[in-house]
Symmetry: C3
Subunit: 350 residues, 3 copies
């Protein structure tokens, strides 16, 4: 990171109630208390790390207003109402700097169909392709080398990062972020086995993505066989996730990396799936279900369930079985001993 703030900049952003000490270092990085060195900003976000403050080598430390202690020489303490909130303000400033607002307009190297409708406030970056009939909303940022297919719609304030593909007819909501390499609207995986060959079932539906959705790098979402594959408002999806055709995902779900969701599965609102979990086809995962990493969900789950394991079962049972599994060698020995004892008992009693 080539960030550079003065101590005064940080104070202006975080609005401390008071300060202790001083530093002449410019702030060029952010780091945890224990990892920080001169030129870093750090913070005490969790009181349990209070003792680490004395040892930190950061030049500026964000601390709760009631913190007791003095800075080292060349170190500045900023005492704020909430160090986490203060840090978030610094990060938001850095984010603006990392990702400056692009100027509106279409880059001359982009290939834009004559009848695509591009809002005047939108930015179409270098080497993008926008096909016929596509609609690009206000302040949308189509960053670079992005493909937007025929009649696709991208809602206001969305951001399509480099290499994103949005296939024909798909609809992206407002304030959606698609990380690099995302594919929206690839064909669903549907075939009929006819006379020894897999005949393709046409996939003529689309994908509809709600407002405030974020989708991680190289994730793929298939278009529906017909009708639509849907991702509800506010849902966040991590990298390398596979979402098959006709899946319906509710609002405010969290889908961690490398999850796979099979065709026609339904996730109700606020479902959380840990990394590498899998969901079988045609099942319904109830509202607020939580599934651990690598869980294999192969049947309907009632709202509010918390499951782990493969096949996924309630977390407490799964943990207990994991422990008992490791005791199987012992159990086999115990049963063997019982069998011997019983055989001896029989012998001696006969």
């Amino acid at each position: 990171m080539q960030v550079s703030f003065t101590a005064a900049d940080i104070a202006a952003i975080t609005q401390p109630k008071s300060m202790r000490g001083a530093t002449s270092e410019s702030i060029r990085g952010l780091a945890a208390l224990a990892d920080a060195s001169a030129g870093d900003l750090t913070f005490l976000g969790n009181p349990k790390y209070k003792s680490a403050v004395a040892g930190t080598r950061a030049s500026v430390v964000l601390l709760p207003a009631d913190f007791v202690g003095e800075p080292a020489p060349g170190q500045l303490f900023l005492l704020v109402e909430n160090p986490s909130v203060a840090l978030a303000r610094v990060c938001a400033r850095i984010e603006q700097w990392l990702w400056p607002k692009p100027a509106p307009g279409v880059h001359p190297s982009a290939s834009v169909a004559a009848d695509a409708r591009i809002a005047a406030t939108a930015t179409i970056g270098p080497l993008c392709v926008i096909e016929a009939g596509a609609v690009i909303g206000e302040r949308v940022h189509v960053q670079a080398q992005v493909f937007v297919g025929r009649n696709a719609v991208v809602g206001d304030d969305s951001w399509l990062m480099p290499g994103v593909v949005v296939e024909a007819e798909c609809e992206i909501g407002r304030r959606v972020r698609l990380q690099p390499g995302v594919v929206i609207g690839s064909d669903g995986f549907g075939y009929e086995f006819v006379q020894g060959r897999h005949e393709k079932v046409p996939q003529v539906g689309n994908v509809v993505i709600g407002d405030d959705v974020e989708i991680g790098a190289n994730t793929t979402i298939d278009r529906a066989r017909f009708s639509r594959t849907t991702i509800g408002e506010g849902t966040k999806i991590d990298n390398l996730v596979q979402i098959a055709h006709n899946v319906r995902i509710g609002r405010h779900c969290l889908i961690c990396a490398q999850v796979g969701i099979s065709g026609s599965a339904t996730l109700e609102d606020c479902v959380v799936l840990g990394g590498q979990a899998g969901v079988a086809g045609h099942i319904t995962i109830g509202k607020g279900v939580k599934a651990g990493g690598r869980a294999g969900l192969n049947a309907d789950l009632a709202p509010g369930s918390f499951v782990t394991g493969n096949p996924a079962i309630p977390v407490m049972l799964d943990r207990r079985i994991a422990v008992l599994n490791q005791r199987l060698p012992e159990l086999f020995r115990r049963v063997g001993t019982l069998e011997e004892q019983l055989a001896d008992a029989k012998k001696s009693s006969s």
Copy 2:
């Protein structure tokens, strides 16, 4: 979907034996019986849903010729020989509309080597790169932002969707569809550990893909160390699948999403692998083997096997063990009880 058919259009496509009722709605979507609303086409594909016909709100319903029942007001019944076939005809029509045949020729923004051989009937879309010596067959559609490397060959009637990468020397058959973001011919993962470092083993083979293969979005297929990685005719591969170097996949296989196949594994013809399954290196999976989702195949499998679980075992055994596993707490209790009873018995007999 911005489909729009009149009822007369649908009748012309599906050639019904008879009709009942009438609708003035234009048909703008396809949906299942229970989900359909006015303006939708629906169908009765499976007799077990017969009772849902009475309640459907679709404007046009495809029904078997012997269906008994009357349409609601403003609803049209089309009685056809096979509703599924009739629907497929409508979908095929929509598919043509979704993906109109592109005009042949090379887009001016594409970067095509002087000595690449492009058939006159092929289409090279915007911002594609075709390198020296590459051969693009008749009616091939290289859609947009695609890379075709040196001396690679793409067979007649194939379709490379946006962002596909076909590396140097790889060979793609006829009527092959590569979904967006597919990578063909990345280096195999081969190193030798020499003096504390991993030295790269050159990967100088290629990938050869048979006719009528389809490969899903962001799937990766590595080039062979030497010789070739092969995908047999008619095999269909889903999204985010990894196929390592020197793998040999037979004809008419189905490989679901997120499967990983390790180096030098062989799949014979008609193998079906469920989502997120894994295949170890250097093993052979016999003809017609079926493996469930998330199965871990770590040894040769005889033709026709049906396995699940990790490590994969015959499906009936795996299911039985899954049930017994959940009864482990009970089994431990039962063994504890036996031990107590035997200890009591001993005590009382001594």
Copy 3:
């Protein structure tokens, strides 16, 4: 492969101690002893395959200097100090031919910011985007349709293959190879659940990749929340791997395909993770740990551990449990029998 060598070319490259026989075939391929046909080069790399030499149909065979046996008619034996080393020399020659050194310079179709710093010896291929402030080192090959974001740095002699995305501020070392579709610096997956919605935690760190790292096709590496996600020198990463924000990977690790590593996990040096393994967040995997394919690492592991299974446990225990698991039906029967016998014994003794 459209390789073509004469037998004399192969001899010149491999410098044999002696030769037996002769061939007039041109060498157009490489294959294993059993698979080779006329026009192929093969080799005896492992003495246990010695008996396969007599049956090979290869035109040229690399053999150890002390090999006893005569070539078939039209077959040439080259007796060399080390056949594997000799083969590697041939492969290295093919590699140069497969991937000829590109001429330095910026392709006219690339979009390069005025203030990007591109070394005079670097190659920027067609349709690449290099943003403001980016630094491209000596002899770097940015192949085609690659994106290098603002202020990103690519070290000397690195090679970015088609479709690679390196986001703003990320740092790539020297002699790094990024296979097609790699994404470096996508946002980490971090949200806070506030009033029923997931609020994005800004991800303002970067990714720092050491020298001699290789990263497989469509793999994704997220930028840190703040500070950096790091990949140590000499580490090799396969295809479709997910590395989350703030992960720290040591030097000379091997990460096989489809592995997922969760946020803030640490891998020390020389860790080896089999395909589809998963690592939980915030844990430390000690130096030299080996984990089998599909292992689920959910707790710290001491240096040198060898684990398999999910949750991962020491390999010997995991294997024993896998065997005992398959004997569960038997164990349940044995316990049932014991219960009956004890009930009978009680009855008869009462």
